[in-house]
């Protein structure tokens, strides 16, 4: 079985304990933080395991790359401390089971774009930006063969990821890709962060969607007309697993003439969409999630955003309606980029 590479020594010598002291959902001082993270590492119960909002942010806050969130998710399962009710876990675990036959494997021998479990969103990968890259997982009936499984971190079911992810990687590798552009940054995080932290072999080169979009926009620079929109970016929890790629958000906005509005909840301080929070067991989760969403959107409004840009389809589904009701247009990043090169974005409604 794959084991998490977590080194408690690093926590002992850490001076900031940023993983927990910077947590947006718990008030924890440095001394308590160190004590609790070491307790968790030893496999002991900790209030952190019960209170965790599963926002992934501590993965980014840890300056040693010691994977505190993977540790929390693993120990939640080990100690039977589930952040969500039992039926929700069963539902989620069942959700990722492929049930419509085997995938049709075609050897691509070139770059592929893995749209993973979002086959119904293929309209977001159309147009010139995607010339030369072959999409895989476009068949809704087969999409769960390409589903990175990382969402089970939200459910305290790390074992499901360890069990299924290697098979998913195997399926993708059968297409013989030279590189795999990951439509969702959760997939990118799975292949570059989770797999590395657990010693799972990834026999292809994952490419972050934004890095891909940025490079394509540079190639198509002649076609770009500034969009002249004030934009807010809804950073998804999974981008905390690849913080080194977050800079492409700003680079893309600069390139296409989108003005990133000055917000309180931005970059490392971003608020998650709260989709994972509303179903949690803790009392007040539903209401708390709704309040957080409102706080997030108010911040966008205050900053003068006209458009809210999403990467994660789950964030879009959770927050898109609230954003729209507040007079801000929700849009996927690829659609904004298509707009910049004079195409009509498919999801621009």
């Amino acid at each position: 079985m794959y084991e998490l590479k977590f080194d408690p020594e690093l926590c002992l010598h850490c001076t900031t304990q940023a993983c927990l002291t910077r947590c947006q959902y718990m008030e924890i001082d440095g001394e308590t933080a160190q004590k609790e993270i070491l307790k968790i590492a030893r496999g002991e119960d900790s209030f952190v395991l019960h209170e965790c909002a599963t926002c992934y942010a501590c993965e980014e806050y840890c300056t040693f790359g010691n994977h505190p969130y993977y540790l929390i998710a693993e120990k939640q399962e080990l100690l039977g401390i589930s952040p969500v009710p039992r039926p929700l876990i069963q539902r989620a675990v069942n959700l990722g089971i492929p049930f419509r036959g085997q995938p049709e494997i075609k050897e691509i021998n070139g770059p592929v774009l893995n749209i993973a479990a979002f086959s119904e969103l293929t309209y977001l990968i159309q147009g010139k930006l995607f010339d030369g890259v072959t999409p895989i997982s476009t068949d809704e009936r087969k999409m769960f063969h390409y589903f990175c499984q990382l969402m089970y971190l939200h459910y305290g079911r790390d074992s499901v990821i360890k069990e299924r992810l290697p098979r998913i990687i195997e399926t993708i590798a059968k297409h013989k890709p030279t590189e795999v552009v990951c439509f969702h940054d959760e997939c990118y995080g799975a292949y570059t962060s989770y797999c590395k932290a657990h010693g799972i072999d990834v026999p292809f080169r994952p490419v972050h969607f934004y890095e891909y979009l940025y490079n394509r926009l540079v190639e198509l620079k002649e076609m770009i007309r500034p969009v002249n929109l004030k934009v807010a970016y809804q950073r998804p929890c999974s981008s905390r697993l690849s913080p080194d790629k977050h800079l492409f958000v700003g680079r893309i906005f600069d390139l296409i003439g989108a003005e990133s509005v000055k917000r309180e909840f931005v970059d490392e301080n971003a608020l998650c969409c709260a989709g994972a929070i509303e179903g949690q067991k803790r009392e007040g989760s539903r209401k708390g999630a709704a309040m957080q969403q409102q706080k997030n959107v108010e911040d966008m409004k205050r900053a003068g955003a006209e458009v809210c840009v999403f990467n994660c389809p789950a964030c879009f589904q959770t927050l898109g309606g609230t954003v729209a009701r507040n007079g801000i247009k929700p849009v996927h990043m690829s659609d904004l980029c298509r707009l910049a090169i004079g195409e009509i974005p498919a999801g621009w409604r």
Partner: protein, 452 residues
């Protein structure tokens, strides 16, 4: 060309009558497992007078008449078991009146659910109707004739409870009106006229409803669906009970199905909530999810799955995609809510015995006074063996409904026989007398609800 064909053509014009084999074939079956039977003629009238003339002709010539609405019952109720004239009523599709203040609509019998929904959305956005889970082509009259229920069944009951008045062509050709319209008043109420109750639930065996007044209900500005899930079917009745106590929901449905896998062995609830403001919506959400179901969430026995704005009609028809060949039929029943766990468990057993992925659904009617519980079975239309398998499963389920103390909803001929075998003999005799009185020649939809 035969004389009956010519007589029909004289009534409705030649464009709207046919005896061509390819058209008779289309009308010989419905989408379920019922054996096909061809009509001799298909005719599509446009007016009540034409319906009258057709029925008089049928009476004279002793030919069966089978009225057809959207043809969506799935139970073979409009399959012409003894041939005769298939009366396709879709051309009678006028929405005659919508009374905004008294909240009712007067419709012709061919008006479809989708037609009324879009008409109200466009012209009367403050009004809605209780729309069933059937495809939009199902007709309003077809639904009340079978005692259907819709997405307002929790607050308002069966759709047939919302009838304000009827115009009916009797099997002998006379036209009768029922409700306030019968005394020359408008179509605003069915009460307090003496109860004659001769047409609803009779599946077109006692007459042809040509006009209907149906109650419309308030449409709130925001309508959406909240979802909840439990893994213990034993919790479903008490959750139904608690949810109905809040009086905050428009529709409450529980379901479970083997496919897609996320729904397997779990009981999902969809709870439709409507509000005119964000404040009202949040209040209702708080009462339903936090105050009423919060205890299940805290214990870890139940989970809130979020709220989506806009309504999605329950689509049992999706079951048709579970097996190659796209066929499905279901047994519906009206059951006490407390029977949900047994209905679910026994239904799964039947499905598994017949190698069909199980699908069960329970919709709350009234304040948990009963539920419509349905067991759906998929089959391959091109494979007689799977059709036979589904038919056997349906028949087993018909027996199960009665064994569990429920009543089969819109039974096909097999289920009708089971019901009639158990029916109070005096009631059966009365039904026979009524049928004989209204339809002395037995021409109306023969083969259905026949009492020997």
């Amino acid at each position: 060309m035969d004389s009956i064909y010519q007589s029909l053509a004289a009534i409705v014009d030649a464009e709207h009558v046919s005896d061509r084999p390819e058209e008779l074939y289309i009308y010989s079956f419905d989408l379920g497992t019922a054996e096909p039977h061809r009509p001799d003629y298909v005719v599509s009238p446009e007016t009540t007078v034409q319906v009258q003339e057709i029925v008089r002709l049928a009476n004279r010539e002793n030919i069966p008449v089978v009225p057809l609405g959207g043809g969506m019952s799935l139970a073979g109720l409009a399959v012409p078991l003894r041939g005769g004239i298939l009366l396709d009523l879709k051309r009678m599709d006028r929405i005659i009146e919508v009374n905004e203040k008294a909240r009712y609509a007067v419709l012709e019998c061919g008006v479809s659910q989708g037609q009324l929904t879009s008409y109200l959305e466009r012209h009367h956005p403050h009004l809605t109707h209780s729309e069933p889970g059937a495809p939009p082509a199902a007709t309003i009259v077809g639904n009340v004739v079978i005692h259907g229920q819709g997405d307002l069944a929790h607050p308002y009951g069966f759709n047939s409870d919302m009838v304000n008045g009827l115009e009916v062509v009797l099997p002998t050709g006379e036209v009768c009106s029922f409700g306030s319209c019968a005394v020359g008043a408008s179509w605003f109420t069915n009460h307090p006229m003496p109860d004659v109750g001769l047409f609803l639930g009779w599946c077109g065996t006692t007459g042809i409803i040509t006009k209907l007044s149906i109650r419309l209900l308030p449409a709130k500005r925001i309508r959406g669906i909240g979802r909840f899930v439990v893994d213990d079917e034993g919790l479903v009745p008490e959750i139904f009970y608690k949810l109905t106590h809040t009086q905050m929901a428009e529709d409450i449905i529980a379901f479970s199905s083997a496919i897609p896998p996320f729904a397997s062995k779990l009981q999902h609830f969809t709870v439709n909530i409507a509000a005119d403001s964000e404040k009202e919506l949040e209040l209702k959400q708080q009462i339903i999810w936090d105050d009423t179901l919060g205890e299940y969430i805290k214990r870890g026995d139940g989970a809130y799955l979020g709220f989506t704005r806009s309504l999605e009609r329950p689509q049992i028809s999706k079951t048709s995609d579970y097996k190659k060949g796209g066929g499905f039929e279901y047994v519906g029943s009206i059951m006490p809510i407390e029977k949900y766990p047994e209905c679910y468990r026994r239904g799964r057993e039947i499905s598994e015995r017949h190698d069909i992925p199980y699908t069960v659904t329970g919709r709350c009617i009234g304040a948990a006074h009963s539920m419509m519980f349905a067991w759906t079975y998929a089959f391959n239309r091109a494979d007689p063996k799977t059709i036979e398998g589904a038919r056997n499963a349906l028949h087993e389920t018909d027996r199960l409904v009665l064994e569990l103390g429920g009543v089969i909803w819109k039974p096909g001929t097999f289920g009708q026989k089971l019901v009639l075998e158990r029916l109070d003999p005096n009631t059966r005799d009365l039904m026979k007398k009524i049928k004989g009185l209204l339809d002395p020649k037995g021409i109306m939809n023969p083969g259905n609800w026949e009492i020997p």
